[in-house]
Subunit: 205 residues, 2 copies
DNA sequence: AACGCTTAGGTAAGCGCTTGCTTATGTTGG
DNA sequence: CCAACATAAGCAAGCGCTTACCTAAGCGTT
């Protein structure tokens, strides 16, 4: 989408870390500069304002998450499987990039109006990916869903809400959480158990 | 739990609104004072510091949400029903108190260490309510859950993540969203369809 | 090989304003 | 008469951002 020079990236990463820890309003440009190992003025060599930095972090983060989900959806045969790979990818991305994800998800309100529009578009696109696969599965009979948009929102919440508390030094648990989210999402859309043994689960009740 | 004078409450509400809109770091004590219709110094008549105000808002919010869930769990016969009433109550509370809830959920990191401990305790208690009902349902055979703690976390995410985007001028949709969350949560724990027609859903696959 | 010139990336200093919070001083209703 | 509640004024520190200036690397031209 957009390329950054090493110098720009260094400031970008510093800003993401600072925003994630203290919020946009709680972060000073001097803090960002120190984290990037630069003087306060160096920040303004690469970005027009503090809010511009937030916008860059947000757009980059949304792009990355979006791409991860698209790549994941490519190699999946059925709607059930595709929903699974997408939820898996989304969950892993949010866990592995918890700092950036926190900024992306929680600092939207600190953006100025024009930038908000751009980010809102990216969000709609990501939501649409989930809406599409749920609609597809519902139409084919693989799923059983009443409220497609609402269910899509809830499925995304499984990944997103993780970044509220997840700490990056627990990355060893990421795979487990991702697997759990896949199973939960498939249950949420009413994807049946594997067809090889559909009656067993029913018979046991 | 704790009582507040009208004067204290006025400042508390003003702080909740301000923190919710601009974050803790992005809110000035003057902003809070203006919203409360007082002078900047009046804030410090009732609270020792800005962080103390955040702590008061957080504790009050956690208490209210916790009470709502306990009351909801009282009149429910089965684990399925109890999980339903609790998710319903939690969802409604988060939607109706979206401003306070945003502060409660997203400004935890701005608390000082001693206050963080108190809030963490309240959070554990609320999580435990969901863990208990899921464990109960799993033991009785009403549910079918692998990872009880993880599933409880995910069920809570359904309510919590709403406040990230929900606007209070859409409260007419609250009931619909709450009903959807109940259905999703019951699916997540593997609560079967109503026993009157258990085989229909299986036969149709 | 030495030249002048451009460009990218950086800094020290600081301007005008806002911050959290305090102090000294009223002003009320019971 | 005295808590309880409020205020105007302001302090020291920190804020976002700008200005004026510096350095080093890459360039075709002489």
């Amino acid at each position: 989408m957009q390329d950054y020079t090493p110098a720009q990236e260094r400031v970008l990463d510093a800003a993401a870390a600072a925003f994630s820890e203290h919020g946009f309003g709680g972060t000073s440009t001097r803090d960002i500069a120190v984290r990037a190992g630069r003087s306060p003025a160096a920040v303004y060599v690469h970005y027009r304002s503090k809010e511009d930095l937030l916008f860059a972090v947000s757009r980059r983060g949304h792009d990355a998450a979006h791409r991860a989900m698209i790549e994941a959806s490519a190699d999946a045969a059925s709607p059930t499987e595709r929903l699974g790979t997408m939820v898996h990818a989304s969950t892993l991305w949010h866990l592995e990039n918890a700092r950036v994800a926190r900024v992306v998800q929680y600092e939207y309100g600190a953006l100025t109006e024009p930038h908000r529009g751009v980010i809102a578009d990216l969000r709609r696109q990501t939501t649409q990916l989930i809406v599409d696969v749920i609609a597809e599965g519902d139409a084919s009979g693989d799923f059983d869903v009443d409220d497609i948009a609402g269910t899509a929102r809830a499925v995304l919440s499984l990944s997103i809400d993780l970044v509220r508390w997840f700490s990056p030094d627990r990355l060893d648990q990421a795979a487990r959480i991702a697997r759990l989210n896949v199973a939960l999402a498939q249950r949420m859309v009413g994807a049946g158990p594997p067809r090889s043994a559909p009656t067993i689960r029913c018979a046991s009740r």
